[in-house]
């Protein structure tokens, strides 16, 4: 009787998670079916058949020629550099949230928060048109500088590859910092008031409270977010780089996702090669994940997978 009950319960509990299993299967595992295109000489409108199977041809194609290999390495360099910069500055939204929280004048605090959160809802295409109007060769900045006689020729902010990684990080931060800070603001509200009160009684200054209470309390949140970012290290998205790319900065702005997109969609396009490269991305991501898990085990004594 008892075992029957347990069985029924386990079925019922299985049904609870079934919708999620189905969702994951459809949206995370089923798309992997598309990987077979990397092993075929697929060209629309012809369907893939046994005859079109070419094995690892497209993978070896990547390393078949030193110039092409260098090209893929260039793209990887850009991807690592830009993700690396984001990772390196990942504390920025946290500090921003901490200082935002310190603003005593409530209306002003709300104002700052709204203004910094809003850009998150603007699409990259619009961000670029803002950039074009402000920093373009006849944009606002150049017009003012030339009218004042500071410069004779307009400065090509958008048409140069100088500091492009850092500039991209600045745009990304402008768009995302406010939004990313929300998570930390929530964590800060969760801090026990009593601790802060006690610290105040003991005569702690505001900086000391921040340093000894606020930041340690939200560090776990920070680590979770860093871990999540690490898993997405290679997927820094393509929209931003797609809108900002031009012939002058492409060498430094083309990241892996954009590269995959460009191969599949320019001219006749080559879907198999594009699929093969995007598969490599998954492989590298798994390596990164396992790697960071090992590091986590080493440092914290426990992994997260």
């Amino acid at each position: 009787m008892r075992s029957d009950n347990r069985k029924a319960r386990s079925y019922r509990e299985f049904l609870y998670i079934l919708p999620f299993i189905i969702l994951v299967a459809i949206f995370a595992y089923f798309p992997l079916y598309g990987w077979i295109y990397a092993f075929h000489d697929y060209r629309p409108p012809f369907p893939i058949t046994r005859e079109t199977f070419v094995g690892l041809k497209w993978f070896s194609h990547i390393i078949s020629n030193p110039v092409r290999t260098a090209d893929v390495l260039r793209v990887l360099r850009n991807t690592f550099a830009m993700s690396g910069i984001s990772l390196f500055f990942s504390w920025f939204p946290m500090i921003f949230a901490v200082f935002l929280n310190e603003i005593r004048c409530r209306p002003y605090q709300k104002f700052v928060q709204t203004v910094t959160t809003l850009p998150n809802f603007i699409s990259w295409v619009l961000v670029f048109s803002i950039a074009f109007n402000i920093f373009g060769s006849s944009g606002a900045v150049n017009s003012v500088l030339t009218d004042l006689g500071v410069i004779a020729k307009p400065i090509s902010f958008l048409k140069s590859s100088k500091h492009i990684w850092f500039k991209m990080w600045l745009w990304l931060t402008w768009k995302n910092a406010g939004w990313a800070a929300i998570m930390y603001l929530a964590a800060i509200t969760g801090i026990d008031e009593q601790m802060i009160e006690a610290a105040k009684v003991d005569g702690a200054t505001r900086m000391q409270i921040i340093w000894h209470i606020t930041i340690p309390s939200i560090l776990p949140t920070y680590f979770v977010i860093v871990m999540l970012n690490l898993a997405n290290f290679l997927s820094n998205g393509m929209e931003q780089y797609y809108v900002f790319q031009n012939a002058f900065n492409q060498d430094y702005i083309e990241v892996l996702d954009l590269y995959v997109y460009n191969i599949a969609t320019s001219g006749t396009g080559n879907y198999p090669l594009s699929t093969a490269i995007s598969m490599l991305k998954s492989v590298v991501s798994v390596i990164l994940l396992v790697g960071s898990n090992a590091v986590s085990k080493l440092i914290r004594g426990e992994g997260f997978i």
């Binding site: 629309p44 048409k159 031009n246």
Partner: protein, 561 residues
């Protein structure tokens, strides 16, 4: 309970809608048009929809890969049904036949008398496709009723065009070389640094978003200008005036010459600094607000020239440069680069109605709607039965159409298929004149302005083509039926890589600081392109286009006899 109720309600609604539409008298039949030419995705609306519905009770659902993404081609082909009518690039059509996505139309096509006025061209194409006589699959688009070697237009696709008033103000200097053109443009820039609104104007304003398109690698603005020296880019190869191929990066070729020309222009401060970061839409805006002093596409003048500007002499017009040889395509007798076909899933009554529609599409009435517009809006009919231009801003200003066409804006309701079977230079049997307005006598009379007369006196010719012919500066390339081999995946990825290098370097070359940097970059570009395997791509393209060259030579020879 609530949810159950709402589901029931939705079901009831769907059912009743189905019933109503079944009861309504003959609901229109929707046909899917997979259309590589369309710039509009969705069901055709407005006046053209009404014209088609009134005649055939059809609704046109346009599927546009240019709008909704090229991935549509792959996914719809995978499903086995591209559309009821398919309009694709010529190079894809034989693939569609092999993949079983288009149907045999040999039974119905011979009955379509309007389409069969182009029997010669249709026969040649289909014989090339299947190797059999009398078997039809595809209908070429924009065929003409002239001949493969005639040149009906009085302007060619690309030539240098200046604003007549500015050219007059600098004393109408005679131009012999590109350097003379640069000097003239520098003087024009001096007297015309801004437009009337005070925004900066430049002789050159370039855009990057068309690069690598239209079967040519390289940047569109350079590629187009190579035709000024009789050189035509065929993918990665340059076809020289003597019908031989040469590498695109060879320093003896026009691609180098034009890149150098633009670099020199930039060193002289004649290139808009926004070039390379702006897109075509921004350039279009500059053209129509007078912020560009040089135009090179024949249709570009449409953004500036108007009857008023032709009258006051501020319009753009061809100004010859002595050492140039202008390449022009002859009338497209065998049609343009796109094909019409019928999807393989189309059967029975639907098939009959689609063929009926297509035949009307090539009929005088259909062509008049496509090429001349609506009577009482775009034109009126004179006493002699010939057309007279009426509101020539109907398209530009989206004027409301007459009530009998259902109202709405003219441009909004314009034919979204955007591809024709009969070209606009065909003769309209109803009037005896060509379909396109620019050939009507009434239009010619209207535009014979002082400016045009001055131009004729200055250059001692009727029009630009007449000038080029008189001075042996025209290289007309005959129309042939030719379909390039589609790229294999290896070639496709090679093309992407090589094109990317060429485009990237060309932009940097145009903005190079001095000649030393220019030469250094050019060497680096050649090295990179070769590194990716340019030679293989070049060999593939030469082999591919040799057949076209041979056919053109044959047509030219037989015409000369």
């Amino acid at each position: 309970m609530k949810r159950l109720l709402s589901i029931l309600l939705v079901c009831a609604m769907v059912l009743s809608m189905g019933l109503f539409s079944a009861l309504a008298e003959e609901a229109p039949l929707t046909i899917d048009i997979y259309d590589a030419a369309a710039n509009y995705h969705g069901v055709q609306s407005g006046w053209f929809a009404k014209v088609v519905k009134d005649r055939f009770n059809l609704e046109l659902n346009i599927i546009a890969p240019q709008v909704a993404g090229n991935e549509l081609y792959a996914t719809r082909a995978e499903e086995g049904n591209l559309g009821d009518i398919v309009i694709v690039d010529k190079k894809d059509f034989s693939d569609l036949l092999q993949a079983g996505l288009v149907r045999d139309i040999s039974d119905k096509l011979p009955e379509c008398e309007n389409i069969m006025r182009f029997k010669d061209q249709i026969d040649v194409y289909n014989k090339g496709l299947t190797g059999q006589e009398g078997v039809y699959y595809g209908i070429p688009s924009e065929m003409t009723d002239t001949s493969p070697v005639s040149l009906t237009d009085d302007v060619i696709y690309s030539s240098p065009m200046l604003r007549w008033d500015l050219y007059t103000q600098i004393g109408r200097p005679k131009l012999e070389t590109l350097d003379d053109l640069l000097d003239a443009l520098a003087k024009i820039h001096e007297i015309h640094p801004t437009n009337d609104a005070g925004d900066p104007a430049y002789p050159f304003t370039l855009w990057a978003d068309w690069d690598g398109n239209d079967n040519m690698i390289g940047i569109a603005n350079v590629v187009q200008l190579t035709t000024w020296y009789g050189e035509k880019i065929k993918q990665s190869a340059i076809l020289k005036p003597d019908n031989t191929f040469s590498e695109i990066y060879n320093r003896d070729n026009a691609y180098y010459k034009i890149t150098k020309f633009l670099n020199k222009a930039n060193q002289m401060g004649l290139v808009d600094p926004e070039s390379g970061e702006q897109d075509w839409n921004s350039v279009m805006n500059k053209l129509s607000t007078g912020r560009a002093d040089l135009m090179w596409y024949s249709w570009e003048v449409g953004f500036w020239n108007s009857v008023d500007r032709l009258n006051d002499g501020t319009a753009f017009i061809f100004v010859p440069v002595g050492d140039q040889l202008y390449y022009a395509d002859a009338d497209r007798y065998y049609g343009s680069d796109r094909m019409f076909g019928i999807g393989s899933k189309v059967e029975g009554e639907k098939y009959d109605r689609i063929m009926e529609f297509l035949d009307w599409y090539a009929s005088p009435e259909g062509c008049t709607f496509q090429h001349a517009g609506i009577e009482g809006l775009n034109y009126t009919v004179g006493a002699d039965g010939k057309f007279v231009p009426y509101k020539d801003n109907a398209l530009m200003d989206n004027l409301p159409v007459p009530e009998e066409y259902g109202g709405g804006g003219y441009n909004d309701g314009n034919n979204a298929i955007n591809q024709w079977i009969a070209s606009s230079i065909c003769v309209n049997p109803l009037t005896g004149e060509r379909y396109a307005q620019k050939f009507w006598q009434s239009y010619k009379d209207m535009t014979m302005t002082d400016m045009k007369k001055e131009w004729q006196e200055t250059f001692d010719a009727e029009d630009s083509v007449d000038y080029m012919k008189k001075n042996n500066q025209l290289l007309a390339s005959p129309s042939v039926d030719f379909t390039p081999e589609p790229d294999t995946n290896d070639i496709a990825s090679l093309r992407v890589d090589v094109n990317k290098q060429l485009c990237q370097f060309t932009w940097q070359l145009i903005f190079a600081e001095d000649d030393d940097e220019f030469e250094m970059l050019w060497d680096k570009m050649v090295e990179q392109m070769d590194g990716f395997g340019y030679k293989d791509l070049y060999a593939f393209d030469c082999a591919n286009y040799q057949a076209e060259v041979d056919a053109k030579v044959a047509v030219a020879e037989s015409a000369a006899e």
